[in-house]
Symmetry: C2
Subunit: 336 residues, 2 copies
């Protein structure tokens, strides 16, 4: 990899392990009683870990549900399992264990930037802790058994969220995507499978979990990410040399101008403005060195997080005003 700043490209790294219990049907086939038995078992096993909060989908508030989805800690599918779904999340909200989603357990760790080994090590520690008291379904030949065969084997999905605006703007992203379909890696939009990439964010992850060791999956993912970062760096350099550079610079600057000078701004407009600000930052047109702070800000400025911060359900206009004021303050603090 060249000497580009990784944080200009890799927003976050996620490690996910799929685990299931021996002797229980997969969640989609479980009745309420059996589902709750699994929840109880996991909670008992996790007991010794500090600062974990349990959310039961049977009584989660709408605000909490939206907030946890928006923060990528639970999936919309988990929320739908109102009878037996649950999630255990640590205080700093980088570890989440979903119970009775597609599998009995979906253990997930998200860390900023590119850190596949770090995230896997954190996740494995918890997985090993749970394994001491829980017996997971494991086949000597197939590895960990999962509800969907795509997760069979290590049960490991390693994914990295990449910011690839230049590959998108230069229309090279399609070629990259079709090259990836020939590999064991896949590229997806920000909210998971099938959705269109928003804000030029693409999730790169291993499609294959079977027949590979955890280390092989990590190496493969890292190599793909490095290749993509090099291609994106090249595309960014090309844009800066192109005739349209000043127009792109203009658009980025204007977005910063509006985001730091407005009285009302919706969540989706704020996201769009922040995307342009990030482009301006990585192209060197706006003096913000760490774009992950902009990503964090976008999450904080989502409706559910603003309501949580205010401690009550605000009106849409109140939120738009709050976002305009706080967004401007935070963005300005990044450049001064």
């Amino acid at each position: 990899m060249n000497d580009e700043k990784i944080s200009d490209f890799a927003s976050s790294t996620r490690i996910r392990l799929a685990r299931n219990f021996d002797g229980y049907a997969f969640p989609s086939m479980l009745d309420r009683k059996m589902s709750l038995e699994i929840v109880r078992k996991v909670l008992a096993a996790i007991g010794g870990l500090d600062d974990m909060t349990t959310y039961y989908m049977s009584d989660i508030s709408k605000d909490d549900a939206i907030r946890l989805i928006e923060n990528h800690l639970i999936s919309p599918d988990l929320v739908k399992n109102r009878q037996g779904g649950a999630a255990i999340i640590n205080a700093e909200e980088f570890i989440s264990i979903m119970i009775n989603e597609e599998d009995h357990l979906r253990e997930q760790c998200i860390v900023p930037g590119l850190d596949l080994k770090g995230a896997l090590s954190t996740m494995s520690e918890i997985d090993e802790y749970l394994s001491k008291s829980l017996k997971f379904a494991y086949d000597e030949k197939l590895g960990y058994l999962t509800a969907c065969p795509t997760n069979l084997g290590t049960g490991l999905r390693a994914s990295v969220m990449l910011f690839l605006p230049a590959l998108s703007i230069t229309n090279r992203i399609k070629a990259v995507d079709s090259a990836l379909t020939q590999s064991p890696m896949t590229m997806r939009g920000i909210y998971g499978e099938g959705s269109k990439a928003e804000g030029y964010m693409y999730q790169i992850s291993n499609e294959k979990t079977l027949g590979l060791s955890e280390d092989e999956i990590l190496d493969m993912t890292e190599t793909t990410v490095e290749n993509l970062i090099n291609l994106e760096a090249e595309a960014r350099a090309d844009i800066k040399k192109s005739l349209s550079a000043v127009k792109i610079k203009d658009q980025c600057m204007r977005s910063f101008g509006v985001a730091t000078n407005c009285a009302l701004v919706s969540s989706s407009e704020f996201d769009d403005l922040c995307t342009n600000i990030k482009i301006g930052a990585v192209l060197g047109y706006i003096d913000i060195s760490d774009i992950s702070k902009i990503d964090e800000l976008c999450v904080k400025m989502k409706a559910s997080n603003i309501n949580a911060a205010a401690g009550r359900q605000l009106s849409e206009e109140e939120r738009d005003a709050y976002r305009a004021e706080q967004g401007a303050k935070k963005l300005l603090s990044m450049i001064y």
Copy 2:
């Protein structure tokens, strides 16, 4: 008048005196020889005054012509009289004497804010100086004779440029305008007769010049201006109390944000942004105390003035970049 700050309403005051020579046809009927004779006479009479520059329409550069029109020092009609048109303009460019426009002389003085008496006094001094050596066509009963009967009498047109955004936004301007048509006063858009008001700027002037003394014309103009300022102040207060206040504030702030954060901006977009910034300033949403500085900036940022400042004909993109950079710098210096 209430205690509103006059500069938030009145942008500039203009006094214009129409004068003609005895024994010459009006300019539209003059041949080249006679036209130039008039120019020579005026130049001889003005000789003793310092720092006056003469522009001959026969050899004025396109850039100078556009710049002087954009700065409201000469009219497009004067430029069309290439054979005999001329203009004498002082160094600070607040006094302009057009020769062979509609009348032989159009003496004009523009001062910032509302200062009818001051502008007339400055203009009269020069007019009296010229009268010492020039014999103007004057009839004991009709007063000064002019090419168009609407200027007969004093030959005096007193006008004040008013910024009336609130009357426009609240749709009250039409009622005001139709009330004025019953009076000896008239309201026009910024570039003179017949044009639509741009940037919410309206020119208020006396339509009648005959049968009134100079003092009466000035009093009448001042009274009308005061009434309009009071109505505008009321409309501004109403807007600030209205439900749409936050949306107007938002628009004003965004315009400031874009004008101070862009890489390219056209002259017409810059004018529109500045209009919104001025609205924000007079409504108290943007901390700029003297909006006349914004008007001055808009004039400076016109293509002709940028070319003049650069000392060469820039390309459109070069000017848009210059305007973006200098405009931002000047606007930011107004608030910090």
